[in-house]
Symmetry: C2
Subunit: 242 residues, 2 copies
């Protein structure tokens, strides 16, 4: 379920398969009705609902007069093999839906091939995740329900080098070659990655921080590592072309 | 005002001047009472309050049994001159307290000299900002109430090169020398930076994103630019030492 015309417009623009749209015509603005018409034009069934229905159905404090159901977006790890993944971001224990959504948005912007959510991480269909992803969720495949202790092996079988992350004692992300096919595993907001997961990786990355300061938030860490990989990829393309 | 023992512990650990601590002894856990004792040991006055007082005074949905008042943390731009600023992050129109706090946390971790909040940006003393900053707010000076259209000139007078940011058409942050004394101005979550502000800068930075994807969230953009500057600084120190 997606809520609000912005998420609906993002879904339509990115070719997601919108099954049904629910709209309260009395409360919807012209912009919101426009988004509903766009969804209808690509085949979504439109249902007008009485005021109050969306309020009860939706998660938001300020209910939106538009909601929609979208065909399941997640893929399996086997399906991932087909897209020859370059950069894959794995969430193992990320619990805050805002963080998960923000990481999906950032990963998409960095050109990641996919995001993997392990069991025990937040639900990708949580409306707060969808909102924070700001359309990113429709831009790249998402694998759900992966098993934390098995995901490194599965991604290695796809030809990826797999890195765990830690706030200390790993190798600096900027001193590590992230320009090839790599996966990066991010852990829980408070506890980081479980040792049992880190041990399955090929290496551990650490973002060097200023002395006397705390470690970074997981969404910031994801942004920094994804875009360091993006920087290295652009550099190696330039070197390859030269 | 800071809420919760975590923020209090952060404030004490970073040498912030804690004036007074308010605690509900009936509701506080041993860990929370420990944080109160630590604050008392550095001179904070401790007041026991009746249950319900903190609930009414505090902002959080789940009220915390510990709150404290901390001496104002903000500094003036003139005071900033004394710390020979290298990297300064300026928020011009950032309205979400979670984003502002996250940016302060990230900027501190990247070794920034200061964060500047312009008028019209979120209040640095908003409890949500303090929480999201996770102690970062006590690690670096924060300038508040700067005027958007004047801040670039003021920072230039301190010897900084000032960059605006835009989601398109600027120079790639990775192709720009960010290893010297620089300031980076970030804009509103939805609208970005006002033209009147961008025009006052020495240049405009853009983070290159993958085709067909949206621009980045402002907190992710701040993380990416701060840590690209951090990477370049480390490189130039190595080059300087060689």
């Amino acid at each position: 379920v997606i809520e609000g015309y912005k998420s609906l417009t993002d879904a339509v623009a990115r070719g997601a398969s919108v099954d049904a749209v629910y709209v309260d015509p009395a409360a919807a603005t012209d912009v919101e009705l426009g988004a509903v018409r766009d969804a209808a034009s690509i085949g979504a069934a439109v249902f007008e609902v009485h005021p109050g229905v969306l309020t009860r159905a939706c998660d938001t404090v300020t209910p939106q007069p538009v909601a929609a159901t979208v065909r399941k977006l997640d893929v399996t790890i086997a399906e991932l093999a087909r897209c020859r993944p370059s950069l894959v971001v794995v969430l193992a224990g990320v619990r805050d839906p805002g963080n998960a959504g923000s990481i999906i948005r950032t990963a998409a912007a960095a050109g990641s091939a996919a995001v993997v959510l392990c069991e025990g991480s937040v639900d990708v269909y949580n409306p707060k995740t969808v909102r924070a992803a700001a359309g990113g969720i429709f831009s790249l495949p998402v694998v759900v329900g992966a098993v934390e202790d098995e995901i490194a092996g599965q991604l290695r079988n796809l030809g990826l080098q797999v890195f765990a992350t830690a706030s200390k004692a790993g190798r600096a992300h900027t001193d590590t070659d992230l320009s090839g096919p790599v996966a990066v595993i991010l852990g829980n907001e408070a506890r980081g990655l479980a040792d049992t997961v880190s041990r399955t990786a090929d290496g551990v990355l650490t973002i060097p921080v200023a002395e006397g300061t705390d470690s970074l938030g997981v969404a910031a860490a994801a942004a920094i590592i994804c875009f360091e990989s993006s920087r290295q990829r652009r550099l190696s393309r330039v070197a390859g072309a030269a």
